[in-house]
Symmetry: C2
């Protein structure tokens, strides 16, 4: 590359843009599927297709456990996985701020490419735009993904019934806290890593499970927001048990110090599965076989008003309200 | 809406974000296809599918002849159309800067929805992120689109042969110049409108044309950049005839005053068709039937070095070099 930093000329459609695309994006992403000379990519997919999209603005761009690049793959892969699909292809939009270092952009795109390979998805279409200095913040990404449905029925909030149970595959709030700690402005540091990862192995393990009602990954707004989506869509009460919700010690410590509630912090590698009571042991058995998993039965769905109740460790109850203020902008 | 401006809380996954999505995005875009409660949309498409994506950063957000909203539809619709597909569905990413006026966002999304309806495409998936004030510039959009191939063969640069001719459906440089004039910093104004529009009617008119080789919409980098892409991919000379390339008087005037070359300025509603010489009259006949069209035979593909030659009005020749500097950042 001739320039060590991105310039406006890298966005103009001309030679520098072509070099940026060929020498950085295509070099990492090209496995024969990304043709940078065509206007649209042919999709060699059959079956019942699902389509989703997600935008990524995380700050800092790199954090313990991932980067905006791997996050852009995992976020969209996870949206397809929880909808019951095997993710197949992605499109990628990059909004790059003038002045971003090539070396950092290259690390991020390499991280993105590695995540895509690990998830079995291919980036088949892309676009880059350069934002003048001061009109961006390093890099924003968007990915759209297409997957093939692998569940016998459609997973939806409408399937949920009183008596169903909620399970999660690991601790909550790791991503939000890790990103928070990575922001120098807080003057804190720690060895906590983001949980950012593909949830496809967990979702896929349940695709053929009788009694599987619904899955969702608790990203922005965290566990509490998913619980509210369930309560609101179903007109039912979601009861969560504090004693059963895994929260790592450093997450709990940071939240206590800064006044955050870990149940509202973003996860990027967790899935909440809602299943019929009698499918509970099946979920435990299937998830326990996956490396690194920590299965927890965190709550139940009950008849009652549309609300989210937390049973505290001390035996009391409190309402988890719907999130209003933004505790942590640019967390994903 | 409770707020007249976008706040960070509109991006947090909680109540304000839900209201923004339900009361603004879904209200304009919802025709039964956009389910804001699911993680992924079912695609009811069959045939040979094509997939593309594009990002939009135009400044100002609204300009004579369009807005970033309609542009985000036309840009992706046009990429599918020139690839030989009928566009069917879009995903939409919005990166909204804190402080953007609701009223302006609503005008833009209404313009986007109107363009989508006019093009026969449905927005079936979306995501919004809010950027802290000073880390964006009002609004950036990305759209990914899926279409169904409607040409008997694959359109590609590889089909182009010496002797083929280049046609365009209207004047060049209108979009770039109109956006330039709409930027107050230039202290110029005029009644020129952007050409931003769907090129689907023009592309579709040629889908079954024997002798159709390739189509491309000359956006960033303009006509000269498309000519270079052809010359470079085919190892051939593209000869353009200045006398035949339609350029509107105000575009010519602004370019002369500010030192721009209209052949490098973005169009957003033009298509360049490369066809066999003997298909020329067929293209003219088919395009003349489309309202507002202005068919021009602007050049030929010849044996020779990989280069772009402009035959000037005075009978001379000059090379059109590959674009290097960015004449106009944030033009699309």
């Amino acid at each position: 590359m001739e320039h060590r930093h991105i310039t406006l000329a890298h966005g103009n459609g001309g030679r520098f843009m072509r070099e940026l695309i060929d020498e950085l994006f295509a070099r990492h992403l090209n496995d024969g599927q990304l043709d940078t000379r065509t206007d649209a990519a042919h999709l060699d997919l059959s079956g019942d297709l699902l389509f989703t999209t997600d935008g990524f603005t995380v700050k800092p761009l790199e954090f313990p456990g991932g980067s905006i690049g791997s996050l852009a793959v995992h976020g969209t892969v996870n949206d397809l996985a929880v909808a019951g699909a095997i993710p197949k292809v992605l499109s990628l939009n990059a909004f790059i701020e003038e002045g971003l270092e090539f070396a950092q952009l290259e690390r991020i795109i390499a991280d993105l490419a590695g995540a895509a390979r690990a998830c079995g998805v291919q980036v088949v279409a892309g676009d880059t735009k350069v934002l003048p200095h001061g009109e961006g913040s390093g890099l924003y990404l968007a990915t759209s993904g297409i997957g093939v449905r692998a569940t016998p029925g459609v997973l939806s909030l409408g399937n949920i019934r009183p008596g169903d149970v909620l399970l999660i595959n690991g601790s909550v709030g790791d991503h939000g806290t890790a990103v928070l700690l990575a922001r120098e402005q807080f003057g804190l540091s720690g060895d906590l890593r983001s949980d950012a990862a593909s949830v496809l192995p967990y979702a896929q393990a349940l695709f053929d499970l009788p009694g599987l009602r619904f899955m969702r990954d608790p990203t922005r707004g965290g566990l509490a927001t998913v619980a509210h989506e369930i309560a609101s869509a179903c007109g039912l009460t979601v009861r969560l048990r504090e004693a059963e919700i895994p929260v790592k010690d450093p997450v709990r410590g940071v939240c206590e110090m800064l006044g955050y509630d870990p149940y509202y912090l973003a996860c990027e590698g967790r899935v909440i599965a809602v299943v019929a009571q009698d499918a509970l042991e099946d979920v435990r058995a299937r998830w326990r076989g996956i490396e690194g998993s920590e299965v927890a039965l965190i709550g139940t769905v009950e008849e009652g008003a549309s609300q989210v109740i937390l049973e505290t460790v001390l035996g009391g109850e409190r309402f988890l309200e719907e999130l209003e203020d933004d505790p942590l902008p640019r967390i994903c």
